[in-house]
């Protein structure tokens, strides 16, 4: 009886908290966005700068995804399948972007590649622009999101050990075949899960990107930055309309994430 009450109270509190802190604000964004009708909403969303910002966001997220997937796989493989000195240090280093404030991450790139940076003369000589340009945005996004894939894979690969890979290698199989036939089937859902988390974070990244972007409208403005600009110009309806696009993307990713998570759990029981 007592357990039942405790359970209902805890569940009730949890639901209430999530409703107040998450659902209500998200709903408010959508409601505010549609306050002045569909026409205003559509014109804000289809605005040239908004479209450009969306394109840049998707581009940055896409590149980040490709690079971080490959990096995450390599890192997880190295950490779980080999013995080497400094392995623990590497594992810790991978986590740095999780613990560091994104704005610090952004400043790091300014210090390295910006006008005051060490690499500036070199970049100048080769006529490469990083800070206040698209490469800077991509770099910042990569930096902030690179632990996601490897974080998902390391526990999974640690649990499975390396005996199967050793067995395959003993029978003469080479790296790529071992990866495709032995390792990948085991980690595919975990990999996808990490990729989805990484995508969600990359699409929404604000802090680090804000520092290196320079807010050049139509050039270096990502969707979250565009929302901020609209907001600071007191164009609230437009800001909320564009923000609702981000919310919709987030919800879609959430659904996808849950499907993959379900698959992952089923695989783990194997």
């Amino acid at each position: 009886m007592k357990g039942k009450i405790t359970r209902w109270v805890l569940v009730g509190l949890g639901v209430l908290f999530i409703a107040l802190m998450l659902l209500l604000p998200l709903a408010a964004v959508l409601v505010y966005a549609l306050r002045q009708g569909w026409a205003t909403f559509l014109s804000a969303v289809t605005d040239t700068y908004a479209i450009k910002a969306l394109q840049l966001t998707l581009l940055a997220a896409g590149i980040t995804l490709a690079i971080n997937t490959v990096f995450g796989l390599f890192a997880a493989w190295a950490i779980t399948k080999f013995r080497f000195r400094g392995k623990q240090a590497l594992t810790t280093l991978i986590d740095i972007p999780f613990s560091i404030s994104p704005i610090v991450a952004g400043l790091v790139f300014i210090v390295v590649f910006g006008r005051i940076g060490w690499a500036y003369p070199l970049l100048e000589a080769w006529n490469i622009k990083i800070v206040f340009a698209v490469p800077g945005i991509v770099l910042a996004t990569i930096f902030v999101t690179f632990p996601f894939v490897s974080r998902e894979l390391i526990p999974l690969m640690q649990a499975s050990g390396s005996d199967e890979e050793t067995a395959a290698a003993l029978m003469g199989a080479r790296g790529l075949r071992i990866f495709r036939r032995v390792t990948l089937p085991h980690i595919k859902w975990g990999l996808l899960y990490g990729v989805i988390l990484c995508t969600a974070r990359a699409l929404g990244e604000f802090g680090a990107v804000s520092v290196v972007s320079g807010h050049l409208r139509g050039k270096t403005n990502t969707l979250p930055l565009h929302v901020e600009i609209l907001y600071s110009e007191f164009r609230l309806t437009a800001a909320f309309s564009v923000a609702s696009v981000l919310v919709v993307i987030a919800v879609l990713i959430l659904i996808l994430r849950n499907i993959v998570e379900h698959k992952l759990k089923r695989e783990e029981r194997l």
């Binding site: 050793t166 067995a167 395959a168 290698a169 003993l170 003469g172 036939r181 032995v182 085991h186």
Partner: protein
């Protein structure tokens, strides 16, 4: 000798896993590497397979030095302790893997895998995944997978460790028979002496990275070469003050002795045929062991263990008994001396 190890040394950090290991294995033999955990037996196996490289010494397979030949090219089949079956492949694909890697023709692969499935009694399970198999079936798949590419040498790491005690006995004789049928030279690692004695043609006893003794199970059982072998094989009771046992004298350089329960014979005092070779003791405990009784007996302050037939005289704790000890293994620093009961030998001589 088909497989030969010459003065192999191997260190892991400060741990000496192999210390001057040398032995040879004749073609077609089934060898058991027996030792306690940490004795370096698995390291030896992994070095023969090429999964570890020795720090010093040579490994020869078929007369050829293989130190610098990669594991995949040594023509060795390996059965892992955990079996390491590919869990996302069917039984068929698991067994076929090695042949697929070698790019054999499909028809040949099918034929070879079918042959192995018949040999290992896995017919009907081809499409199953490893997690749908019992422990014994998994072991058979691992065995078939290792044999598929026709290796010249089969290595098995604790092949029975992951199997229930009940199925284990059955699998032992199955493995022995099947290896005999295939006729492949095989080396397996175990920490279980029963397993080694039952399965192997020859046993290599390892301890602290060194080889203690090599020989047939009977030979090692009857004539242990080192104190470690004497203690490790069979049921061994270490007796420090063995000079107090009737018929034995304390020898300098031999600090203690191993007494096995089968060296002890117990009768009622009035039925003792060799009174001067035996001595009196008191039964301290009687344990029922299924097919025999285990008696704990106090003899001049020493606690002995003896087995007694269920059909023989009945003993109770506190009963006075006559104890005759036939034999002891005296333990020196590095050697073992097999000693018979002196009074018993004089006695026999007297009657002849």
């Amino acid at each position: 000798m088909y497989v030969e190890l010459k003065d192999i040394d191997k260190r892991f950090g400060s741990f000496q896993a192999s210390d001057g290991v040398s032995f040879g294995v004749a073609k077609g033999k089934l060898i058991g590497l027996l030792g306690p955990s940490g004795s370096g037996k698995t390291t030896i196996l992994r070095m023969i397979a090429g999964l570890e490289a020795p720090d010093a010494g040579d490994i020869l397979i078929g007369g050829k030095r293989v130190n610098d030949i990669s594991a995949a090219k040594r023509g060795v089949g390996f059965v892992f302790q955990s079996y390491a079956l590919f869990r996302y492949m069917s039984v068929f694909d698991n067994i076929a893997f090695g042949l697929t890697v070698q790019k054999k023709e499909r028809a040949y692969i099918k034929e070879r895998v079918d042959e192995l499935i018949r040999l290992t009694g896995l017919s009907g399970l081809e499409a199953r995944r490893p997690h749908q198999l019992s422990g014994g079936q998994r072991q058979r798949v691992a065995f078939a997978r290792a044999l598929a590419p026709n290796p010249h040498l089969l290595l098995l790491d604790e092949p029975f460790a992951a199997i229930d005690a009940k199925v284990r006995k059955e699998l032992r004789s199955w493995l022995r028979e099947t290896i005999g049928k295939v006729g492949i030279t095989s080396i397996f690692v175990t920490h279980d002496q029963d397993e080694a004695v039952e399965v192997a043609d020859e046993i290599i006893i390892t301890n602290k990275g060194r080889v203690e003794q090599i020989g047939t199970p009977t030979d090692i059982y009857k004539n242990p070469a080192t104190p470690f072998a004497a203690e490790f094989i069979g049921e061994s009771l270490i007796i420090a003050d063995y000079g107090r046992l009737h018929g034995f004298e304390k020898l300098p350089g031999f600090g203690s002795a191993v007494l096995r329960p089968e060296f002890v014979r117990v009768v009622k005092p009035e039925q003792e045929p060799y009174p001067h070779a035996s001595q009196r003791g008191t039964v301290a405990e009687v344990l029922f062991r299924g097919n025999s009784l285990e008696l704990s007996i106090d003899v001049s302050g020493i606690r002995l263990i003896a087995y007694h037939s269920l059909d023989g005289d009945v003993f109770q704790p506190g009963d006075a008994v006559s104890v005759l000890i036939h034999r002891l293994f005296l333990l020196g620093a590095r050697e073992v001396k097999k000693t018979e009961n002196a009074s018993l030998q004089n006695n026999t001589a007297f009657f002849i």
